[in-house]
Assembly symmetry: C2
Amino acid sequence: MKNIENEIDGKELKSKTEWFVTHCRRAGLKVTPQRIAVYQELLKTNEHPSAEILYQKVKQIFPSISLDTVNRTLVTLSEIGAAFVVEGSGDAKRYDAGSDKHQHFKCIKCRRIIDFHHKPFDDIKIPAYINDKFKVLRKTVYIEGICDLCDK
Amino acid sequence: MKNIENEIDGKELKSKTEWFVTHCRRAGLKVTPQRIAVYQELLKTNEHPSAEILYQKVKQIFPSISLDTVNRTLVTLSEIGAAFVVEGSGDAKRYDAGSDKHQHFKCIKCRRIIDFHHKPFDDIKIPAYINDKFKVLRKTVYIEGICDLCDK
DNA sequence: TTGGCAAATAGGAGCAGCTACTATATAGTA
DNA sequence: TACTATATAGTAGCTGCTCCTATTTGCCAA
Ligand SMILES: [Mn+2]
Ligand SMILES: [Mn+2]
Ligand SMILES: [Zn+2]
Ligand SMILES: [Zn+2]
């Protein structure tokens, strides 16, 4: 098992931010401190935070930011491929800036979303009749259950 | 490809309802006309309706039913395994009474959820380190993209 | 460097989709 | 048939966005 739970280091944070800045410019988006802050907070965690959680974090270093800006920023990040939504049912949307291929285990009790990477899941083949009929953009595998902390 | 788009026939509706009734009794749940109606409407469609859609349908034959009852009933159905939620992001929960193994294609434009069945997706193996650490309840594979109707 | 402007933000109102509450009704049973 | 725990209808309340408007700001061009 490839452990992908280690946090991002300062060097990677910097290089990813640089990529993000050029990527924004290329997409005709302004590089605002709010956007940088939201993106960096998302990069720094592997807890798949909701907009509200990110809002609380960014507010500590940027007290005037609004929740709406965080939400809009997250939509923008998704559009340019700098983040994506991890699907959930009913609860708040959860975001991920992870660029490496990986999958998720979701605890139905505590709602934790835990990264793992299982190579065979990357390689599952989409049947031809789906590719012929639809324009496929993404395939997703996830596992649900009770996590180690909740199962006592 | 196994076509699973055909609608349920009267015979199957009846037998599934009978199963549902005994299953409710066994679980100590009362068999109310509202529960039967919601369950049957869910059986009759393969469009993965939201609570609101089901509410509109059931109301036609049961005008006094409340949206809350539909929502509560759907939670109950999920608890006893008579239905499940198809995950989505942000929108209303979508429900499925399908008992046969199958997967979903989700159109990101029109939000249609289309059934298909690809045997290899049933058989994907969960890595041992996940099974060892967590109690696995479900594994899910889905495909996202643009459906044939939206892609013009 | 500075000025103009389109894009972005802050703050708040509005809305959808549940979920909780309470009085009434009813399924299961004795 | 009568009793009681469960379920329902109607409504209020809550969460998580999304829309609206006035103000600010990043970016570009002069
Ligand atoms: Mn992840
Ligand atoms: Mn289905
Ligand atoms: Zn847990
Ligand atoms: Zn579509």
